[in-house]
Amino acid sequence: MKTTKIIIAGMGGQGVQVLGKILGQAAAQNGLAASYIPLFGVEQRGAPSVAYIIINDTQVRYPLFKTADWALILHPRATDVVANHISQKTKVIFDSSLMAPPMINKKPAELLGLPATKLANEKFFIKAANLIILGKIARELGLPENLIWQETETVMSKKLKNEKTKDKSRSAITWGYKITLEKNNFSLPSFQPKKGVINLKGADKHGWLIPERCKGCGICLAKCPAGAVKFSAHTGSFATSLPEIDLTKCTACGNCFLFCPDGAIKIEKDKK
């Protein structure tokens, strides 16, 4: 009787629970006993989200556990949540394009990097990062690729209506299935969120942008009368795109400051 315990942790909105659900269902379809328990706070977005999965040959007696065999960390802010579930036997996979190797007190058996967000952004689309990780963990667990795709289609049927998205999602899983993990030479966390205050100057205006507060809701884009705000390639600390301001177009009307629910943006005219 072999039991595999997997813990997946990330930020809400990254697709942690979808990943857990697909994995659990695929294991069940493969003739194994599986349990999947989601754990998250009262917030619907932007807080750590954890999935507990147990896969066993015969039956699962209790769905929660203390030490995991596999720990998948999708976001640096979720490291603290998983740290208690890591022992010397745990193999840790982390998103090396989002975070530096996690600092964990107990040394895990293996620390493996997978630059999922970077790959997803370059080859597919940024939200496909969880599918790449899904492909990888499925291979490690010995679940067939076709089965994983079949379950992905059932779980995400509403989101995979577009043929293009469907093809890209399929190839993201295949890509993840084939990829080799980084063992020591981790790729640089190029998707690390910007910190501090971004000062913008030019065209007699001064702008402030705080990436740690921006949640990428897009209200500033919708409310800008001059069309000076658009999404940039940089990400904030919630793994969403930061706004980019064209100060030459900006009229300093103050709408973005007035409507920003998070207090992350402000543009003023320079005092003369």
Binding site: W208, E212, G218, A222, F259
Partner: protein, 238 residues
């Protein structure tokens, strides 16, 4: 960088716990600015309800208490009785105010208790996943009304209009919208001043949006809010 949000906001707890693009934060921003302008930050207490409104529990540098579902108004009425020199503000969603806590709200209005009640109306129970609420209009699709809300569940509940029928003459009853924050701030200030000057009940419903459960982006949320404003007329009710 404190010039990006009101001084009464607690900087350590930002970014706050609301979803991206949440209307609650927009309303709380205007409440913060109004408190800044009146300078009553150290002289007030904020009561919050169960639901998404409870995520404001560490939002302000203001004495805040959290109560049972729908019981924010009576708790703040009690607070005001014990400390009449301080301002009492109850902040709740429409589920707490118009469903489970309606009798508490109506009786506070009937007694003309000197508290201020802010109700955020986003047409659903947002924290539990977007179920139908008293203010959901007929035909709107939610998780508990997958074919659109039917007439047997009643049309949209119009809180300020009903409370106007039984509140005292000097009570301040109004409805604002997060689509126009500047007007909203004026309404909040008037409601707070009404409590200071007239020592009477003030009620403010704020139309808001819920991008997570409406499944809309920023542009679509704002245009749906415009639809809401047609159903729920804005302004002061005298």
């Amino acid at each position: 960088m404190d010039n990006l949000f009101p001084k009464s906001w607690k900087a350590e707890t930002k970014p706050h716990l609301f979803c991206p693009g949440c209307g609650h934060a927009l309303a709380l921003k205007q409440l913060g600015l109004a408190v800044d302008e009146l300078g009553c930050q150290k002289n007030m207490a904020l009561g919050i309800d169960i639901g998404c409104s409870l995520l404001a529990w560490d939002f302000f540098n203001i004495d805040t208490t959290q109560t049972h579902h729908g019981r924010t108004v009576p708790v703040m009425v009690g607070y005001k009785m014990a400390r009449p020199e301080r301002l009492a503000v109850a902040y709740m969603g429409e589920g707490g105010a118009y469903a489970i806590g309606l009798q508490s709200l109506l009786h506070a209005a009937l007694r003309n208790s000197p508290v201020m009640v802010i109700v955020i109306n986003n047409e659903n129970y947002a924290m539990t996943g977007g179920q139908m609420s008293p203010t959901t209009p007929i035909g709107k699709i939610t998780t508990t009304s997958p074919n659109g809300k039917e007439i047997i569940f009643g049309p949209g509940f119009k809180g300020p209009e009903i409370i106007r029928q039984l509140a005292a003459k000097n009570a301040f009853i109004s409805r604002g919208s997060t689509a126009n924050p500047l007007v909203l701030k004026i309404l909040i200030k008037k409601a707070l001043e009404n409590q200071i000057k007239n020592n009477s009940f003030s009620f403010l419903e704020i139309l808001s949006f819920c991008p997570t459960n409406w499944r809309t982006d920023a542009t679509a949320s704002l245009s749906q809010l415009k639809e809401m404003e047609k159903l729920y007329p804005l302004g002061e009710f005298n």
